[in-house]
């Protein structure tokens, strides 16, 4: 495998315009998904650095190859964060190296707080990118509200490098909350848990994380509800939620370290790390989740987003989509066995949408060289 490692946007554009065949586009390669049919890797790690950070405007602009860790380290002294909680998938996927911000945006990586704050795509204010012909383009900007022209920023977020190679992203940051709490409800069945999470999410108490593990860290079912904010507000809401679930086995966790570890465990799907099998990610209507999960016959399950996101560990080569049947949502094969035929990584789209997606890719990448194979 040949690797191209451009150090500037112009060099990257040159790599693409002179490419003779398909390119495997990657940042740090920590989120590798699907099968790539390319003999050459184009990595963006050389195009790195934070070019602007204005804490008072909640704005950060970074080159796409900037390590996520570097961005988080820059935000911390200003008591800010990326609210969408990008995942660290190294454990789950068995990858090494540094996650880059370009990879985060290209995969629209969003953790538990997606349910309240929004996804990566909601915090990406602008991008610069190079399309499949080597043309340098930009869309969006660095302001909070922008409806000038089409929103290609959203289209590029989660496009897995198939429309263009990101070279720079502008992000909206968020102040760190003063404190947080987690309401833990023990012993709920999956459907009781989704009902409880819906109740909490339908309350005025601003839940910023709602997850359920049929087998939590200690092996027992646990449902987690996170609240964040100022001290007075957090303790008030924690108490109100405790009252809401007074008929259940409820505990309130306030230790910052335990909170951080617990929500990382959810975010990074730690439950399924180092366990054999394929990992599927199913996005659905929350109230459908228990029934869908039942159909999967999975080895292990984790519900996030109040039930709207199911992580399932399944036997190698099993096709979750066949077991799920028709449903509103989609299933992505996040970790597949290395050998044998695997189902498509991304959920096949209805014909009219598939035509649109394919035509869009042909416009952005007429030679079909950018991460071809990933989203097919």
């Amino acid at each position: 495998m040949k690797t191209l490692s451009p150090q500037t946007e112009a060099e990257l554009a040159e790599c693409i315009s002179s490419a003779q065949g398909p390119l495997h586009i990657q940042g740090g390669g920590t989120r590798s998904i699907g099968r790539i049919n390319a003999a050459t890797t184009l990595e963006t790690t050389g195009i790195s650095g934070i070019s602007l950070y204005e804490p008072g405007a909640l704005t950060l602009v970074a080159q796409a190859g900037t390590p996520l860790a570097e961005i988080e380290a820059a935000l911390l002294p200003e008591r800010q964060r990326l609210a969408f909680e990008p995942q660290d998938l190294r454990g789950l996927l068995g990858t090494t190296g540094q996650s880059t911000i370009g990879g985060v945006v290209a995969s629209n990586s969003s953790g538990p707080r997606r349910i309240q704050a929004g996804a990566c795509r909601d915090f990406t204010l602008g991008t610069r990118f190079v399309d499949g012909t080597g043309t340098v383009l930009k869309n969006g900007g660095r302001v909070m509200k922008n409806v000038t022209g089409y929103d290609l920023v959203k289209l590029l977020s989660g496009s897995w490098g198939t429309l263009g190679v990101l070279t720079e992203v502008s992000l909206k940051t968020q102040p760190l909350p003063e404190t947080a709490a987690c309401i833990l409800i023990n012993g709920l069945s999956d459907s009781e848990a989704v009902t409880a999470m819906s109740r909490a999410l339908g309350s005025p108490y601003e839940i910023t994380g709602a997850a359920h593990a049929p087998a939590g860290i200690d092996g027992h079912p646990v449902t987690m509800l996170r609240i964040e904010g100022f001290e007075g507000s957090v303790s008030y809401r924690a108490e109100e939620l405790r009252k809401m679930f007074s008929d259940k086995d409820v505990a309130i966790e306030r230790s910052p370290d335990r909170l951080k570890d617990g929500w990382r465990w959810v975010r990074d799907v730690a439950l399924m790390q180092d366990k054999p099998g394929d990992v599927w990610r199913i996005s659905c209507k929350p109230s459908d989740a228990p029934e869908l999960a039942h159909r999967l016959k999975a080895t292990s399950l984790l519900y996030d987003w109040g039930g709207g996101l199911i992580w399932a560990l399944m036997g190698e080569g099993s096709d979750a989509r066949k077991r799920l049947g028709d449903f509103g949502g989609h299933a992505t094969l996040v970790r597949a066995s290395k050998s044998g035929a695997t189902p498509p990584t991304f959920h096949p789209e209805p014909a009219a949408l598939a035509t649109l997606s394919k035509s869009l890719r042909a416009k952005f990448d007429p030679k079909g060289i950018l991460n071809s194979g990933i989203m097919d």
Binding site: G56, T148, P175, S233, F346
Partner: protein, 482 residues
């Protein structure tokens, strides 16, 4: 403002086109009489008017699809229209176009509190979406100031915001799915009750595409539980700069108000004369609103007022009861109407980094002197979305053109400091010709290539968003013919 010359062959085929539309729609849904089409000659950008060839009012997705099939086959441009409240001319017709109005499509299709969404036909007004769920203490968050009248269809087309989007986001952050009809009549479902896209994020692309990619007939919208309470506080300062610094400090402190609204002296004087809200004498006034239980509101306001005190305010006024709260919002909410009483005005919508507020406000004030036109600023300061109101006299020859020139200079200034031409109103025809100041020809080309995918014949709202010169070969069919 130029519009393309109407297609003579379409004008000549009017009778045939009308007959075909009548054949696919119920009686009364096709408006072709010249006295009646005049009702659709403009939107809220009233300086420009042109009656359409025909207006149609379909009642559901199937009828929209039937209309578009007819227009597609006949090569007739279609201009989709929500409630016609666009300030950017997004629904301005051309003489050869069919106006496709969604006003008859206002049903609630599904309400789901467990999964926190509502599905509606897109002709439903923004406020009536909240109206459909408020008895259960839920609401739909985006709240453009025209929310009493504006339709969800238009909100999606323009990715509308509102005063409370500082906390809740704009339309795109609250849109879960759409049913959309493509120009050839194909109906597609994008998204649904789940939170993210399974492939490319087409939903994110559709939102804010100004009716150029398809006609959105149904929408799944996120609804939220109402907060327990809300309370505004008013802060008066003796300079715009200080007020701007105060905004930045509040945001940095980690307090997330639902709204931070800014009004400058010219607006304050006009609004005070009109609404008698009892605002203090000052150069700049902020209204900051927070939400939560009483105790949570107290906690946040204590922090906000501490920050404000460090900036030597002329006055701080906290609402003690709901009457106070109404009075604090009164002047802000009547500001646009108040300006309308004293002058014609053009409302701009440029957005800038919050840190550039003082510089841009100074720049606007200099331009006001240079052009001899009064300007008032009333806007969403928390997210840098400016709304300078440039006042002019429509009856004075040349004044509108002068106002437009000044508006263009203000918007160029916004772009120069790292901002953009429009934060929530859309490009429409109003900012169309300024797009070259924000984008390179290549940046515009890739956006137009996206339209090629959805609407290869360039029939949907074709004369908007892109400078006419940039889009000409596509609109006149030269690309399609190749």
């Amino acid at each position: 403002m130029q519009m393309p010359r109407p297609d003579a062959s379409v004008l000549a085929r009017k009778a045939r086109i009308v007959a075909q539309l009548q054949a696919v729609l119920p009686q009364g849904a096709v408006i072709s009489d010249e006295a009646e089409t005049r009702a659709y000659e403009c939107d809220a950008l009233t300086a420009y008017r042109c009656p359409p060839l025909v207006a149609v009012l379909p009642a559901n997705t199937e009828e929209v699809s039937a209309v578009l099939k007819v227009c597609h086959a006949e090569g007739v441009p279609v201009v989709p229209r929500g409630s016609g409240t666009s300030l950017a001319g997004g629904a301005l017709p051309t003489a050869d176009c069919v106006i496709l109005g969604v006003a008859r499509m206002n049903e609630v299709l599904e309400t789901d509190y467990d999964n926190r969404f509502i599905r509606v036909q897109t002709g439903r007004t923004n406020l009536s979406v909240t109206g459909a769920v408020e008895e259960n203490d839920f609401f739909y968050a985006p709240d453009p100031s025209s929310q009493l009248a504006c339709a969800i269809a238009g909100n999606i087309a323009m990715n509308s915001g509102g005063a409370h989007c500082l906390k809740y986001g704009v339309t795109t952050n609250n849109l879960l799915g759409v049913t959309m009809v493509q120009m050839d009549g194909t109906v597609v479902e994008i998204g649904g009750a789940h939170l993210d896209a399974g492939g490319l994020d087409l939903l994110g692309l559709i939102c804010g595409s100004e009716g150029q990619l398809g006609v959105v007939t149904e929408a799944t919208l996120r609804i939220l539980r109402k907060p327990e309470g809300a309370r505004p506080v008013l802060m008066a300062f003796d300079s715009n700069e200080v007020a701007g610094e105060c905004v930045s400090d509040i945001i940095k402190a980690g307090v997330l108000p639902v709204a931070i609204e800014f009004m400058d002296r010219p607006i304050l004087e006009i609004a005070e004369n009109f609404a008698k809200a009892g605002y203090p004498e000052c150069e700049a006034l902020l209204i900051v609103e927070v939400e939560g239980s009483d105790a949570e509101i107290d906690e946040q306001l204590t922090k906000i007022l501490d920050i404000a005190r460090r900036h030597n305010p002329v006055e701080l006024r906290e609402a003690q009861d709901s009457d106070d709260a109404t009075r604090i919002w009164l002047g802000r909410k009547s500001a646009f109407g108040a300006v309308g009483q004293v002058a014609d005005y053009m409302c701009l919508d440029g957005t800038i980094p919050v840190s550039e507020l003082p510089r841009v406000l100074n720049g606007i004030s200099e331009l006001s002197t240079k052009y001899g036109l009064r300007v008032g600023n009333v806007f969403h300061a928390g997210d840098g979305n400016m709304h300078p109101l440039i006042m002019f006299d429509a009856n004075k020859p040349g004044d509108l053109e002068l106002c437009e020139q000044m508006g263009a200079e203000v918007l160029k200034l916004c772009v120069e400091v790292g901002g953009c031409l429009t934060g929530e109103h859309g490009v429409g025809i109003e900012k169309r010709d300024l797009m070259v100041d924000q984008f390179t020809p290549e940046d515009l080309e890739v956006q137009m290539a996206v339209k090629d995918v959805f609407d290869p014949k360039w029939l949907l709202n074709p004369a908007k968003v892109f400078p006419l010169a940039s889009s000409e070969t596509r609109r006149t069919g030269k690309i399609a013919a190749e």
